[in-house]
């Protein structure tokens, strides 16, 4: 009986631990990229209007060093205009440059420039199976051969695709129709599916939900619009659930995170405009700008990707980022990296250096560093 009670206690304790944020114990084989040394690339967009070029900052975790001009120092040239996203694959870093209509290929270890691959208006970028896939704002997805570093194929998708994620050999592409704001983004509100073997569009996932769903991160039910308007950034949890940030129309329809299960069932999941998944946790930031004062309010929660329940409310409450832009969670350590603008002054907001905040998975601030202008994405090496 005593043994039964003991094991019961253990069992209950195990259950209770299951409801917390995952700890830092590694449970997977590190990706091959870690042989390069761990660190984070922060892609800085610069400012296209003032012709301030893009760049990247590299945070070398092994040496605890941050270098904001490593590419230009090593290569004596500019990265290009408007970096949007990046991926480290093999020994190379691939950076999509929207303004320069190109993908830059860079040695991820030495930061030496390798090649510029021309492709129109690239946005999201992802790698799988020896290829790199790029979402082109022109309504295509380009397939880049990583051996000869050239665009091998292109497939047409919906208008203004933004981000990509691979699940079970299928490429999911968020279709925003973002340039069609006059007609309510009518031709977006979905994910397109591309079969990677045949590299052909094989289906769509409509971001449309029949019934209102209560959202647990403090806002009640998703009243009004039940369409995923303006889907953009995507992230995926350990179970293969895809989470899509739908930015709304910047006016009446607020930004929400939608969940798309492995069975391609779509539903609203949380209120927020920045999201990053790590195992079964979804970190969601909901930042709102007061247009009268310029002040930014930031709400940051952590939700269980399986149930939608808030695991940690007001995450990192004592050290919230000033004006968050992007977020990523390191797969092995669970460290959470958030980029932010460095100033709320409207006249210099987009021409001043940004900030990189590094937190533990408990929300403790480890580090706050100055990076480049408009730090738009975090890519891990």
């Amino acid at each position: 009986m005593k043994q039964l009670k003991f094991f019961a206690t253990l069992f209950v304790a195990a259950l209770s631990f299951a409801s917390c944020v995952d700890d830092e114990t590694p449970k997977f084989v590190p990706s091959p990229s870690t042989v390069l040394g761990e660190g984070a690339f922060v892609l800085n967009q610069g400012n296209q209007r003032a012709k301030i070029g893009g760049s990247y900052s590299f945070y070398d975790w092994e040496n605890n060093e941050l270098n904001n001009s490593v590419f230009s120092t090593v290569n004596n040239r500019s990265l290009g205009d408007g970096p949007q996203d990046g991926v480290v694959y093999g020994s190379k870093l691939y950076v999509s440059l929207f303004g320069s209509n190109a993908v830059q290929v860079i040695d991820a270890k030495t930061h030496k420039f390798i090649r510029t691959i021309s492709t129109p208006q690239p946005q999201g970028i992802v790698a799988h199976g020896g290829h790199v896939y790029v979402a082109n704002n022109t309504g295509h997805v380009s397939k880049i051969d990583t051996l000869n570093l050239s665009v091998k194929q292109r497939v047409e998708v919906g208008p203004n695709p933004v981000d990509l994620v691979v699940r079970d050999g299928v490429l999911y592409v968020s279709i925003s129709d973002g340039y069609n704001y006059n007609k309510g983004y009518a031709n977006g509100k979905r994910l397109d599916k591309i079969d990677l073997v045949r590299f052909r569009k094989v289906g769509e996932v409509k971001l449309l939900y029949a019934e209102p769903v209560p959202l647990d991160n403090g806002r009640g039910s998703a009243e009004g619009n039940w369409e995923g308007v303006n889907p953009t950034q995507m992230t995926m949890d350990e179970d293969g659930n895809i989470f899509v940030v739908c930015l709304g129309d910047y006016a009446k329809i607020p930004a929400k995170v939608w969940k798309v299960t492995k069975e391609d069932k779509a539903s609203t999941f949380a209120l927020g405009n920045i999201a990053a998944a790590h195992r079964h946790s979804l970190y969601v930031i909901n930042s709102q700008t007061d247009w009268k004062t310029g002040a930014v309010s930031v709400k940051w929660d952590v939700l269980d990707t399986r149930t939608g329940k808030v695991l940690v409310e007001k995450f990192a409450q004592n050290n919230l980022p000033l004006d968050p832009i992007a977020m990523n969670v390191h797969p092995r350590t669970g460290r959470v990296l958030v980029t932010s603008r460095g100033s709320l002054d409207a006249k210099v907001k987009y021409t001043s250096p940004g900030l990189l905040y590094t937190y533990t998975n408990k929300g403790d601030l480890l580090n706050r560093s100055t990076v480049g202008i408009e730090p738009y994405a975090v890519v891990f090496r």
């Binding site: 070029g53 004596n76 205009d81 440059l97 006016a251 409207a346 987009y350 001043s352």
Partner: protein
């Protein structure tokens, strides 16, 4: 080669004196009392005039060349023939610059600034630049502003003009007239085009990349007709003009790619009429204009719905001015003017199908005038009324600051006091002190009020306070072989409630009254003329400006006390002209100090200082029944690489050859 052959030909063709003049024509509403040199003695403000003969001698062949000679101006030029050019002065935005053509206002109510790139120098016979007041007591209220660029059409003396230049520049213009007693009928027309495929370089790290501007061809058609009736007692004129302009905009220079060009097409037409009657002690005048303008911006690309983004603006304006001047005595003059205008704008980008603005502006002016003293007082009342018609498609979502409200009506009193006093006159020199204090205000443009997402109907007008003090000195000994003039003007401007766009998020901007600007500056101008020998003269002119135009909004702001974007702290212009019996030879130099493209002076957005050198040679010839003026210009002789707007390089070394035949 062709120029060389013509030069040989000119050796046997008799030359004509280099001082023949165009037929003069009285202008409305400005009383033209200034010569083609610098301002005469009794003016209360800074004024600068240049006639066709002046810019021919000085080797200016493009309108931007003349604009650069104006003291204290900031020019934004996007590079190449036909490119957009805006003109601002003394730290105030381009929307504060008033532009008129033959006394009729040239406006763009959608953006609020006039694109001067649509004009060609051969369109004009005179350019007058006035800062802070008008030379004439009786003038339309619209022309009273911070700065006034008054353009006068070239005379319709029968002529043919042809230009060839680098980067595919070709232009042809012609004019003809018929005179019958006091009546004159005239027509003018011109066509111009350019490929604008000039080479440029862009910095990439410590090296430069060289490329050639592509996808930026431009062409323009322009035609006008006029009827003048001039007697000693009255002047009447009726004018019709039309202009079409098509251009591909190459976009900003971007590393590793060449952007597809966007298209810009404009159509402008105007019907204008005026009548001026003079008496011994009085004058009254009326002028009216109906102008229609269409601007289409088209960007083609697969990223847009239907593979195209189009912005289409239709703008209509009806403007009238009525005024009278009366000389109370030989010392006192009084004038009253009232301007009434109605402007409407339709576009596919606004929140409303149509927006309209009716304006009633009145001014009462008083002048005291002695041979050595002038004092002018102006009181101005401005009334603006807004209307809208219809709403944009209901699917357009509104931003939190947007509403279907209409911009508020506005009523404002402003005033201006200016004075000039001769300080001394000796046998050799004369010195005059002048000063000005005034308040001004500028209504938001339609774009600033109603543009989709960007516009803000709650904007307050911009208010400006101007203070200016100047000293002019000139030699007056007519028999001397050496004449000179000089002036120094110091000014202080304060702009309150400056309208600017601020980002709300990365994709959406909105207008707001955010700024205060504080400007201090000094403009120095000198002009010298030497008569070296019979038929030989040497002329030199230098203008320099120093200006501090800084953000004065919030002390804790990162931009407080920093020079505003694109305004240099120092500019200079110098020209030397040697006139001799064979030709006019000129050398011109321009300089601007560093500028910044961002309000916080981000290092990589700095624009380097630049200096350019231009050389020109021209000659007048007599060929059969016509006078023939030929001119060859080398612009940017040292092939300097520079920008006035970041990302838009200006052409390097280029040549232009212009020929004008007067019949």
């Amino acid at each position: 080669m062709l120029f060389a052959l013509l030069s040989l030909f000119s050796l046997v063709v008799p030359a004509v004196p280099n001082d023949w003049r165009d037929t003069t024509r009285q202008l409305l509403p400005v009383e033209v009392i200034a010569s083609s040199r610098m301002q005469q003695q009794m003016v209360t403000h800074q004024q600068w005039n240049m006639g066709q003969r002046d810019w021919q001698r000085q080797g200016a062949v493009q309108f931007a060349d003349v604009l650069r000679r104006l003291p204290g101006v900031q020019l934004r030029d996007y590079g190449g023939a036909g490119a957009q050019i805006s003109l601002a002065s003394r730290g105030l935005g381009a929307a504060h610059t008033v532009v008129s053509l033959d006394g009729f206002p040239v406006t763009d109510f959608s953006s609020g600034t006039v694109d001067l790139g649509r004009f060609r120098l051969s369109d004009f016979g005179q350019v007058q630049w006035t800062i802070a007041d008008s030379p004439a007591l009786l003038t339309s209220v619209r022309s009273l502003g911070t700065a006034h660029l008054a353009l006068s059409s070239a005379s319709s003396v029968p002529r043919l003009g042809v230009e060839w230049g680098s980067f595919g520049q070709i232009a042809v213009d012609a004019a003809a007239h018929h005179r019958s007693g006091a009546h004159t009928l005239g027509v003018q027309g011109s066509y111009a085009r350019a490929d604008n495929d000039f080479p440029y370089r862009v910095a990439n790290g410590d090296t430069f990349e060289y490329a050639r501007r592509s996808q930026s061809p431009w062409q323009r058609w322009q035609g006008s007709a006029h009827w003048l009736w001039q007697t000693p007692q009255h002047n009447t004129q009726v004018r019709l003009n039309h202009q079409q302009h098509m251009q591909q905009l190459p976009g900003a220079v971007t590393l590793y790619t060449t952007l597809d060009g966007e298209e810009l097409r404009t159509h402008r037409s105007a019907v204008q009429a005026s009548h001026v009657v003079h008496g011994e002690q009085w004058q009254w005048q009326w002028a009216g204009q109906y102008a229609a303008q269409r601007l289409q911006y088209i960007d083609r690309g697969e990223e847009y719905p239907d593979a195209m983004h189009e912005e289409d603006y239709h703008q209509y304006e009806l403007w009238n001015t009525l005024g009278a001047r009366y000389d109370l005595s030989s010392f006192w003059q009084v004038a009253y003017a009232v301007d009434a205008s109605h402007t409407t704008l339709r576009s596919n980008i606004g929140r409303f199908e149509r927006v309209g603005r009716a304006a009633l502006q009145q001014s009462v002016s008083l002048r005291f005038l002695l041979p050595t003293t002038m004092f002018t007082l102006r009181g101005l009342r401005h009334d603006f009324f807004h209307t809208v018609l219809g709403h944009a498609t209901e699917a357009l979502p509104l931003m939190p600051w947007e509403s279907t409200a209409v911009a508020s009506d506005a009523h404002e009193w402003t005033w201006s006091v200016s004075a000039a006093q001769q300080l001394w006159q000796t046998r050799a020199t004369r010195g005059t002190l002048r000063g000005l204090v005034q308040t001004l205000f500028r209504m938001p443009s339609f774009t600033e009020n109603y543009y989709h997402h960007y516009g803000n109907a709650g904007l307050r007008p911009e208010r400006t306070q101007q203070f200016s003090l100047g000293l002019s000195v000139e030699s007056i000994r007519l028999s001397s072989s050496f004449e000179w003039k000089g002036s120094v003007d110091v000014y202080h401007n304060r702009v309150l409630d400056r309208i600017m766009g601020v980002p709300v998020n990365q994709t959406v901007w909105r207008t707001t009254n955010l700024d205060r600007v504080r400007a201090w500056g000094v403009d120095v101008a000198t002009q010298l003329q030497f008569k070296l020998a019979p038929g030989h003269s040497l002329e030199g002119a230098v203008t320099t400006s120093w200006q501090s135009v800084v953000d004065d909004s919030e002390r804790k702001s990162a931009t407080y006390g920093l020079q505003l974007p694109y305004i240099p702290e120092a500019t200079a212009h110098a020209v030397v002209v040697w006139s001799n019996p064979w030709c006019d030879f000129s050398l011109t130099a321009d300089y601007a100090s560093e500028r910044h493209a961002t309000a916080n002076h981000w290092p990589s957005a700095r624009l380097e200082p630049y200096a350019t050198l231009h050389v020109a040679v021209g000659r007048n010839l007599r060929w059969g029944c016509c006078n023939w003026h030929t001119q060859f210009v080398v612009n940017n002789l040292t092939n300097a690489h520079y920008e006035l707007v970041r990302g838009y390089p200006l052409p390097g070394r280029s040549v232009l050859w212009r020929n004008t035949w007067l019949f």
